[in-house]
């Protein structure tokens, strides 16, 4: 009997990247889809309320799954994890405000290391906000065609937009370079250090050739690879710059405006973006979703907050993806 087949993991890049797709978010024009992602990010920036932030995360995740980029959203969430943890851990250690003392620590460098419930909650909320914003930009990276975005901005600041688009495109290229260099590093055998062979006499050389010195650790090789990948990025950038030069970049002027009719996807996604942004701004102005952490935790959880969450969720998911119109392909309005 043959052994069960294990599938080799796909060697994906650790960053969300755009892939063309057939979902409404992919079919809508880049500026419109970008607006929806930015509107969701705006919600996260305006509110610290955990219910609203959780709703934003849910809306981004649901929109991502419906658009077929759930994997990219997951990748964005994983990417945000170190930063989220950093914020969540550092905040309670740095801030001593808050009335509810959880841990009374000793003094370090003349500063008391007390941990309060309020600082802990504030760290958690800040981490949640970071995660939500990174995920919204993950949705942006996965669903917005950078080429179209460049086309959108080229009338305002062509070269800046092109530079930005190229920088974005270089990221996956450099990530692939780093993967390749990592493989090459794994092919390097352990070997005696060269300094002792060369008979150098400096302090550095004596340390390198000292009998007790261990071969370079994996971490040291990893640092060397990272350094080489970084310096290789410069070479890559120069090559791309040369390619741009011979495509006439330096004489590029402002291109003529193109007018395309709005598709039903454009309209639905734009309506979703408008609804999310309007609801967020209006609620902020009305004082909905206020959170006070210090000195005591106070947060509004009531019908207004629930209404805001419902609007965000329905607008971001149901408007672009719900109904027959979303399934009608690319038919123009």
């Amino acid at each position: 009997m043959s052994e069960p087949a294990r599938r080799a993991p796909r060697r994906d890049l650790p960053i969300p990247a755009y892939r063309s797709g057939a979902s409404p978010l992919h079919r809508a024009r880049a500026g419109v889809t970008a607006s929806l992602c930015l509107a969701l990010a705006l919600v996260c920036m305006l509110f610290a309320d955990p219910l609203v932030l959780a709703t934003a995360i849910a809306a981004v995740s649901a929109a991502g799954v419906a658009a077929g980029v759930g994997r990219e959203i997951k990748r964005a969430a994983l990417l945000s994890l170190p930063l989220v943890l950093l914020v969540a851990v550092v905040n309670p250690l740095v801030y001593r405000e808050g009335d509810t003392l959880l841990v009374r620590g000793g003094e370090i460098l003349g500063r008391r290391m007390d941990i309060t419930l309020e600082a802990l909650v504030a760290g958690g909320l800040a981490g949640l906000r970071v995660a939500a914003i990174v995920m919204a930009f993950g949705l942006f990276s996965a669903c917005v065609d950078p080429d179209e975005l460049l086309r959108l901005f080229r009338r305002f600041s062509y070269r800046s937009a092109l530079t930005g688009a190229l920088a974005t495109r270089l990221v996956p290229v450099l990530a692939r370079d780093a993967l390749r260099m990592g493989d090459a590093a794994r092919c390097r055998p352990t070997r005696p250090e060269p300094a002792e062979e060369r008979g150098r006499t400096g302090r550095w050389a004596r340390w390198r050739s000292s009998p007790g010195r261990r071969p370079a650790s994996a971490a040291v090789v990893r640092v060397a690879v990272a350094r080489a990948a970084l310096s290789g990025a410069l070479d890559r950038a120069v090559e791309v710059a040369a390619a741009l030069e011979v495509r006439g970049y330096s004489v590029g002027g402002r291109p003529p405006r193109s007018r395309e009719p709005w598709s039903r996807h454009d309209l639905r996604v734009a309506a979703a973006a408008l609804a999310v942004a309007s609801a967020a701004v209006a609620c902020k102005l009305m004082g909905v979703g206020q959170v006070q952490v210090y000195p005591r935790i106070e947060m509004g959880v009531g019908p207004p907050e629930a209404l805001l969450c419902a609007v965000v969720l329905i607008a971001a998911v149901a408007l672009p993806f719900g109904g027959r119109g979303a399934r009608l392909g690319v038919a123009r309005a």
């Binding site: 087949a5 495109r169 996956p172 794994r186 070997r191 250090e193 011979v246 590029g252």
Partner: protein
């Protein structure tokens, strides 16, 4: 340079250089030295020369990157389509000159194919309607219409290179310059690309200037050859005259069939396989039918092995492997590589390499060669099957620069390895300053620099962009490794190189081994996977190299 026909005045030369010299910043030696030439409109010119002879620099001068992008010192004059390169930068010259570089990945700047093709026209301020039409037309002309809506990072090397050529041609420049465009392609894609360029040259009248190490691939399409040496043009001639010169000056730039004819004392030297066959017929030798009938080595024949060390029957080999008494250096047993939500890259692959064996692993792009080598090294785990190795397996991946991560070459591999790489005199050089061949040699020594000798050494496409001199040096190094007891397995598209070093060829297709045998069997009777000499002789006598083919011809002529 101008020809007047009544009211119509045509500039016949697209490129005119007069005493052009150039030196890169912080370099002592000039990269171009007193270059004087005139290239006609609608011509197909091949730049030939060894590594570092100045081919790439001349191409970069034609598109204005030299001196405007790279800096440095220029003397003399160079005009392209009437524009002086001194006064006009790459952006202005781009109107007349399309440029394609060696690495397609770094010259494709946009995320989508359609956007990539539109970019040069957008730079020129064309209207959306004009852009749409030009993109459609160039895509149809280059056979990439089905790629227009693809993302550039999903394209294969051959597709990317076609897209890069389309982007260079979309505004219909009068001149197209290409720097080793086939170096990353398999033989099929490489040949297709050259004939595509020839068609563009004939149908659109686009002047083509191409630099290539695989001269035999381009020579049949070329009208003219410029040979460069140390930055100077040492020959400017028609292909046949170029071959006479190349043979007379040592043969490093001569094509295999030209060397075959030269060694056999036949004239004129052929510029293509077709001309070689015609030449053989003219000499009373019918390729395939006549030559070698009486001297063709039989599989398993000891004499044949003496004539061509690679000539062993694969049936014999299979029987020998089945007996399994012979020691194994490295072996793959029923290897599968299946990617989650993706293709199956390897399907039940068996490969057994014995100590001292030299195996060429061949097949088109995506056949699974590189993945198999990664399995042998243990970089990836098979989804099914297992790898058996008698010791350490060294693997040199496709980009030697990836192995060079320090600031000084001595830190990469140690003094002994530097000597083996021919870099003993330059221990403090920065690896980035090394030439392609030097990087390749150093990276090979890096992977071989373990404390114990390797049981097997695997090389992945080691001859990309390598000239014949360096290829021959690599053949020698492989021979030394095999003589030291290591099995050497090389994934390569280069049939001439495979014929030179291998005693066994394994042909892969779509993740399976489709043929496994002696080079004389596999490379003599193939279509694309055969050497130029074998194609000229129609596989007669299993001759792969010019020397062996010439012996065969001489025996026929004497008889």
């Amino acid at each position: 340079m101008a020809r007047a026909w009544g009211w119509l005045v045509l500039e016949t030369a697209i490129v005119v250089a007069e005493g052009l010299s150039y030196r890169y910043p912080e370099r002592d030696a000039p990269a171009l030295l007193d270059v004087t030439l005139a290239l006609d409109r609608g011509g197909f010119t091949l730049l030939a020369g060894e590594s570092g002879s100045g081919k790439s620099t001349l191409l970069r001068a034609l598109c204005g990157l030299v001196p405007h992008f790279h800096g440095g010192e220029v003397a003399g004059e160079l005009t392209v389509a009437g524009m002086s390169v001194r006064d006009h930068g790459p952006g202005e010259l781009a109107a007349a000159c399309g440029t394609v570089f060696q690495d397609p990945e770094t010259q494709v700047v946009m995320g989508g194919v359609r956007a990539e093709l539109s970019l040069p026209l957008e730079h020129r301020g064309e209207t959306p309607a004009a852009i749409a039409r030009a993109v459609e037309e160039v895509a149809l002309a280059l056979g990439i219409a089905d790629l227009l809506d693809r993302r550039t990072d999903t394209l294969s090397g051959g597709e990317l290179q076609r897209v890069a050529i389309a982007a260079a041609l979309v505004h219909r420049p009068a001149l197209l310059v290409l720097d080793e465009p086939t170096s990353q392609l398999d033989p099929v894609a490489g040949d297709e690309l050259i004939w595509l360029l020839r068609r563009l040259n004939e149908e659109w009248g686009t002047a083509v200037v191409i630099a290539e190490h695989r001269i035999e691939r381009c020579l049949p399409a070329a009208d003219r050859v410029l040979a460069l040496e140390d930055g100077a043009v040492v020959l400017d001639a028609a292909p046949r005259e170029f071959l006479d010169w190349a043979v007379a000056t040592g043969g490093n730039l001569a094509t295999p069939v030209a060397r075959l004819f030269s060694l056999a004392g036949l004239r004129p030297l052929p510029t293509s396989v077709k001309e070689a066959r015609d030449g053989l017929r003219a000499a009373g030798l019918a390729p395939g039918a006549g030559i070698g009938e009486h001297v063709a080595p039989q599989a398993g024949d000891d004499d044949a092995r003496a004539g061509n060390p690679g000539a062993r029957s694969w049936r014999d080999r299979w029987r020998r492997s089945a007996a399994s008494d012979a020691p194994v250096a490295v072996a793959a047993h029923g290897i599968w590589h299946e990617i989650a939500d993706g293709p199956t890259v390897l399907r039940d692959v068996d490969l057994r390499a014995e100590p001292g064996e030299r195996i060429a692993l061949m097949g088109r792009n995506g056949a699974g060669k590189s993945t198999l080598l990664r399995h042998l090294k243990g970089l990836v785990a098979p989804t099914r099957g297992r790898v058996e190795a008698a010791g350490e397996v060294a693997l040199l991946l496709q980009n030697p620069g990836d192995y060079l991560i320090h600031d000084h070459v001595v830190e990469e591999a140690g003094v002994g390895a530097l000597a083996a790489a021919g870099l003993a005199e330059r221990p403090d050089a920065n690896p980035r300053d090394l030439s392609g061949g030097e990087r390749q040699r150093l990276a090979l020594e890096v992977v071989l620099s373990g404390e114990r000798p390797c049981a097997a050494v695997c090389l992945d496409e080691p001859t990309r962009g390598m000239d014949r001199v360096h290829r021959e040096a690599l053949v020698g190094r492989i021979g030394a490794l095999a003589a030291g007891g290591a099995a050497v397995i090389v994934a390569t598209h280069d049939t001439e190189f495979a014929a030179a070093f291998a005693d066994r060829v394994v042909l892969m297709g779509d993740g399976v081994v489709i043929a496994d045998g002696a080079p004389a069997e596999l490379l003599a009777g193939g279509w694309h996977f055969s050497t130029e000499v074998a194609r000229a002789l129609d596989g007669a006598g299993g001759a792969l190299a010019p020397e062996h083919g010439a012996e065969l011809i001489e025996r026929e002529l004497v008889r």
